[in-house]
Each structure stands twice: as structure tokens, then as C-alpha cells.
């Protein structure tokens, strides 16, 4: 599974960088949905190999909430109100944001090797930490409430990858995941209200 973990992790990092330079929200949402499905498939296979129910539940949660439900909700809102589709201004210029996003991958690598590497011993273990930083940066670098929400969910995905793969026996991971998803769903509703007020 180590190779699969590194491959999925690499794919996730690439997809977040793609989201970072996109201005069309629909593409960002679709990319995020794809990235969630990739994590879900990985967790499912890992859960089946390890015979771990926690991972199977996490896989189902990831696919249902972050792969399907929240992206579908956001797309539905775009269909109704076209003006929400494109974000013209972002806090950090596009080229700089891509460079910074890559920089955070390096920071994640350094942090991981300085902390967890000796204990976990997995070379690709820095990927979820890098994703966590990229998620935070996506939130900070954009004004759009929906993109900020997606940044938060990127962090959530990284956490599932982190906790699910590196610490599959971690207690309460499912309960934590459900709460984070509830939070995302609440934020989703709130972000729509906020955008609605903001634009009208």
C-alpha cells in the first residue's frame, strides 16, 4: 500500500495546485470532488486489505459527503446564479499562489522529517502534512466563501489520509470525521447565505 499512498498523495498535491490557479469555481469544485473520490478509493482498498472497519466507514464518508453531497450542492447553486461562477480577484496573485503552494509542500516535508519520521518511518508521510498546509493557504489566499470552504475540506481530506493511513487504530477518528463533515455541511449552507448577501 505504500506505493499507492505515495501515488494518491502526489495526485492530491497536484490537484490542490490546480485548484490554486483556477478562477472558475465549477472546475475547482469538480477537481475537489475528484480528489475526494481518490482518497475514498484509497481508504476503501486500505480498509479491505487491513480488514479495518474504521477505514471503510471513513471511505464511505469521504465519498458521500465530500465527493458527492457538498460538490453537488455548490454546483446546484451555480446553476441558479451564474454570477457566482467566477472569482475575479484573489488575495494572492495566481503565479505567486502556485509558487507558495509548492513551497508549502517543501515545508510539509521538513516538518514531517523533523517530527514524525523517526516514529512512523514512512517516506511519503509528509504528504498529508503538505496537504494540510496547502488547504490553509487556499483559505487564506482566496476571498470567495466557497473556495474557502473547499480549502477547509482539503484540510479535512488530508486529515483522513493522515489519520486513516498512518494511524488506522486511532480511536474516535470516525466520530471526529462525522463532526468535521457536519461542520462542512453547516459551512456550506452558511457560505451560500454569505455569498448571497455579498453579491446582492
Amino acid at each position: 500500500m505504500k506505493e499507492a499512498f505515495v501515488m494518491v498523495g502526489f495526485l492530491e498535491i497536484t490537484l490542490v495546485i490546480f485548484m490554486q490557479w483556477q478562477v472558475y469555481l465549477k472546475k475547482i469544485v469538480t477537481t475537489f470532488s475528484l480528489s475526494s473520490y481518490a482518497i475514498s478509493i484509497f481508504l476503501f482498498v486500505d480498509g479491505a486489505v487491513l480488514n479495518n472497519t474504521n477505514l471503510l466507514v471513513l471511505s464511505a464518508l469521504t465519498a458521500a459527503v465530500r465527493g458527492f453531497f457538498i460538490p453537488s450542492f455548490i454546483r446546484k447553486k451555480f446553476r441558479k446564479e451564474d454570477y457566482l461562477e467566477r472569482e475575479i480577484k484573489s488575495v494572492v496573485p495566481t503565479a505567486m499562489s502556485v509558487v507558495l503552494s509548492l513551497f508549502f509542500v517543501v515545508v510539509g516535508y521538513i516538518v514531517y522529517h523533523a517530527t514524525l519520521y523517526n516514529s512512523v518511518g514512512l517516506p511519503g508521510g509528509s504528504i498529508p502534512i503538505a496537504l494540510l498546509f496547502q488547504g490553509i493557504f487556499l483559505i487564506m489566499s482566496r476571498n470567495n466563501a466557497f473556495v474557502q470552504l473547499i480549502g477547509y475540506m482539503v484540510m479535512e481530506n488530508s486529515l483522513f489520509l493522515f489519520g486513516g493511513y498512518l494511524f488506522p487504530e486511532l480511536p474516535l477518528v470516525i466520530e471526529g470525521g462525522i463532526l468535521l463533515d457536519l461542520n462542512s455541511s453547516g459551512s456550506n449552507r452558511n457560505s451560500y447565505d454569505f455569498r448571497h448577501y455579498y453579491e446582492t
Partner: protein, 457 residues
């Protein structure tokens, strides 16, 4: 053992009733649940500490339970009279009551459980249950504040969850009693994990540097919500940090908490000087008090005793302040300090209540906040010496002058534009009760000291 679960059970029942009942029954069930919670919390205070698979109730949990339940009741009563000032609420009234009960339930849960992961879940649940309460005013500013609250606090809590995973990696358990018994050994991962957990929980507690949601939310949510946030939500999040400091009592972690506390009070006191909006000003005052509590917790012993006295007395005094700001906002229709004049003439009970409450939250004697701060500052002087003591004293003095000068100006400056208004008795009485309670904490100090003896030594 069943008795310990009663505060949780009554709030669950009240929330369930509110979801299906009409406004009046919802209000009554909430008031009943809050009143019964106070009785149960006081009863738990006299019972022995308990440690089971699910519960870990020690002196700090007991102090938190009593404080939360009293603020729960006063907020419920005040909400009942304040609701008429909201023109187009985001939620139906029964749902407001339901979320208020669930919000309190998640705080009760956080301070009672015997698992660091469950504490995280409880604190995360407070975000879910309170986000809609923040936006209840249903206007752009309150929805924006709610949005910022969810995003910033959730990011902080994700950081704390990563920290907890780091801690788990080293301890192989999240059970608080087991971790306390086994004495966690020092390692780089445990230090980083603890620091991340402190920053994450600190986000919710309004601790620098991730405090930015706090002034917006306190400034824009309705008075009862600001009051319950400031008085018991922030301490409930600090409770997570208190548990970490108990489990991982290393010097590096204590110093980290101390530095964060100092930065928080410095930042808050500087921002108070130029603050143009009275609710935001009091939000920064909450930040400053949370910073002081964090410093007290980091110092232990007398510092911890001071922190607990400050926590309780600040909860009562600050809730009083926010209820009163609600009264002012409902009459003057402005959040700007400069636009509020002649309070003493127009709203005498509110004005005098606000003057006394402001003195209380800024640490003027004889209120218990002063005693709490005195214990903490004495401990700072003993452990860190003169320089840090002076820095803290200067920050406290700045906050004291900023707040009381502005409150005095709002109260005594003359202008004839606003008509004299009759204070509504419920809206005027509840803050005065809380203010009195804040003063009475002075007489409860021996009891707090006694109950904390096992922890402070």
C-alpha cells in the same frame, strides 16, 4: 454514578422538546433544564471526583459545570426578553432554544469526559451548535461573522486534532486518567503535538494568534449569544488546554502557554485603545482575560487558583456587560461608542450596571477578578521576575483605562438627542444579578481553594 450524567440528560431532553414543541413550551423547557442543571452541578460539586471509562470529573470540571449552568440560566432568561428586538431572525424561536440547549450540552460534555479525543469532539460540537446562533440576526454582518467563525475555528480545531494524533502516537491512548497515571515521557513529537493542540484549542478560546474571529462574532451576534460565548465558551475551549497542561506538564509547554498568554493580553490591550465599537471593545477585554487565565494555568499552584477565580468571576461580570450592551443597542440602535451619550440620564439601571460591570471585568477591587489577577501576577513575579510583571501590569492598566474611560464617556457625556427610556425590568435585573454573583465569587474563594487542593497542592 447516574447522578453525574444528569446535566447532560436534562439538556438533551430540553433540546429534543424544543425541536418538536412551540415557542412557549421550548422556552419553558429551556428555563427548567437550566434551573435543574444548576442544582445538579452544585450537587456534583459536593460529590467525590470521579474517573470512569467515559467520565473524568475533577475540581476544574466541577468549577466549569457550575459556571456554565448558571450562565445557561441567565442567558435563557435574558434571551426570552431580548428576542423581540430581532426583526427577522434566521431561526424560528423554538430552534433558537434547541440550539442553545445543544450548545450548552456540548460544553457540559467537553468538561466531563475522560478522553482527549472526546474533549476535541465536544469543542468541535460547540462550533456546529453555535454557528447559527451567531447568525440569528440574519443580516450581512452577522452571517459574515458566523462564516469567519466557522472557518477560522474549524481550521484551528483541525490543527488541534493533528496535535492530538501526535500525542496519541506517543502515548497510544487518549484516556486522560491513564495518561495522568502513566506520566507521559518527554519527546519532540509530544512537544510539537501539545503545542499544536494548544494553538488549536486556543483558536476557539480567543488566544493570539488565531483569535481574529472573536471580535467579529462578539461584535455582531445578539447580546445573549455574545454573553454566553464570552463567559463560558472561551473558558470551555481553554479547558482543553488545561487538560493538556495536566497531562503533559513539561516546562517547555508551560513556557509556550505563558508566552501565548502574554502576547494575547498585549495584543488585546493595544487594540482596545482605539476601539470605536463598544461590543468589539468588550470582545478584546475577553481576549485579555483569557490571556490572563492562560498565564495562570501555565504557572500552576497559586497561578492556577487565580486562573480559576478569574474564570468564574469574569464569566459573571462579562455576561452582565454583554447583556447590558444588548439593552443599549436596542435603544440607541448603534454599535459605535461615540454615538452613545447620556446613558445615566436615559437608561439609569443599564448605565450604572455597565459602569460597575466594566470595573469588574477590568479588575477593579473589590470584585473577584482583582483577586484572581492578583494571584496570577504574584505568581508571575515569583517565577519570571520583575520585567514580565511590569509588562503584564502595563497591559492591564491600558485595558482598564481604555474601557472605563469609554464607558464613563458613554454614561455621563450629555446630549439631548435620545429620549429617556424606561429600563425593562428583566433586561435590567439579569445583568445586575450576574454582577452581584461576580462580586460574591469573593466569598467562594475558600471553597474554590479547597476543591482545587488536590491539583494546586
Amino acid at each position: 454514578m447516574f447522578l453525574y450524567y444528569l446535566p447532560l440528560i436534562v439538556t438533551v431532553l430540553a433540546a429534543a422538546i424544543c425541536f418538536v414543541a412551540n415557542d412557549k413550551i421550548s422556552k419553558i423547557s429551556t428555563l427548567a433544564s437550566a434551573s435543574v442543571s444548576i442544582i445538579f452541578s452544585l450537587y456534583i460539586w459536593v460529590l467525590n471526583n470521579v474517573s470512569t471509562q467515559f467520565l473524568y470529573i475533577d475540581a476544574i470540571s466541577k468549577i466549569m459545570l457550575v459556571t456554565i449552568s448558571i450562565i445557561y440560566l441567565t442567558t435563557a432568561i435574558f434571551s426570552g426578553s431580548y428576542f423581540k428586538h430581532i426583526s427577522k431572525p434566521l431561526l424560528k424561536k423554538n430552534l433558537y432554544w434547541a440550539f442553545l440547549n445543544l450548545f450548552v450540552l456540548s460544553m457540559f460534555f467537553s468538561v466531563m469526559v475522560n478522553n482527549l479525543g472526546l474533549i476535541w469532539i465536544g469543542i468541535e460540537a460547540t462550533t456546529i451548535t453555535s454557528a447559527l446562533l451567531v447568525a440569528i440576526d440574519n443580516n450581512f454582518a452577522s452571517i459574515e461573522a458566523s462564516w469567519r467563525y466557522i472557518i477560522i475555528v474549524s481550521v484551528g480545531l483541525v490543527i488541534s486534532l493533528v496535535g492530538i494524533i501526535f500525542i496519541y502516537d506517543q502515548t497510544h491512548t487518549l484516556n486522560i486518567a491513564v495518561m495522568l497515571k502513566n506520566h507521559v515521557s518527554e519527546s519532540r513529537i509530544i512537544l510539537i503535538g501539545s503545542a499544536m493542540a494548544i494553538v488549536g484549542f486556543g483558536t476557539k478560546a480567543g488566544i493570539f494568534p488565531m483569535h481574529t474571529w472573536l471580535p467579529d462574532v462578539h461584535g455582531r451576534s445578539i447580546a445573549p449569544v455574545s454573553a454566553i460565548f464570552s463567559s463560558v465558551l472561551l473558558p470551555s475551549a481553554l479547558f482543553g488546554i488545561i487538560r493538556i497542561s495536566q497531562i503533559i506538564p513539561f516546562e517547555d509547554i508551560k513556557q509556550f502557554m505563558f508566552i501565548l498568554g502574554i502576547l494575547t493580553i498585549l495584543f488585546a490591550s493595544i487594540f482596545m485603545i482605539n476601539q470605536k465599537y463598544y461590543k468589539r471593545m468588550f470582545a478584546y477585554s475577553s481576549m485579555e482575560n483569557m490571556g490572563m487565565i492562560l498565564i495562570g494555568v501555565s504557572l500552576g499552584k497559586a497561578g492556577l487558583l487565580g486562573a480559576m477565580i478569574l474564570l468564574v468571576s469574569h464569566a459573571f461580570a462579562k455576561s452582565s456587560v454583554f447583556y447590558l450592551t444588548g439593552n443599549i443597542l436596542s435603544v440607541y440602535k448603534t454599535r459605535k461608542t461615540a454615538h452613545v451619550h447620556s446613558l445615566v440620564k436615559n437608561m439609569p439601571y443599564t448605565a450604572y450596571g455597565l459602569i460597575l460591570s466594566s470595573l469588574a471585568v477590568t479588575g477593579a477591587p473589590p470584585f473577584a477578578v482583582f483577586i484572581g489577577e492578583f494571584f496570577i501576577i504574584s505568581a508571575v513575579y515569583r517565577i519570571y521576575g520583575f520585567a514580565y510583571t511590569i509588562i503584564i501590569l502595563l497591559a492591564l492598566l491600558t485595558a482598564f483605562l481604555s474601557i472605563n474611560y469609554k464607558v464613563a464617556k458613554m454614561s455621563f457625556s450629555e446630549r439631548n438627542s435620545t429620549q429617556k427610556t424606561k429600563d425593562e425590568w428583566v433586561s435590567a435585573l439579569i445583568p445586575l444579578i450576574n454582577l452581584t454573583l461576580s462580586f460574591c465569587v469573593l466569598f467562594a474563594i475558600p471553597a474554590i481553594n479547597n476543591i482545587l487542593k488536590g491539583i494546586t497542592g
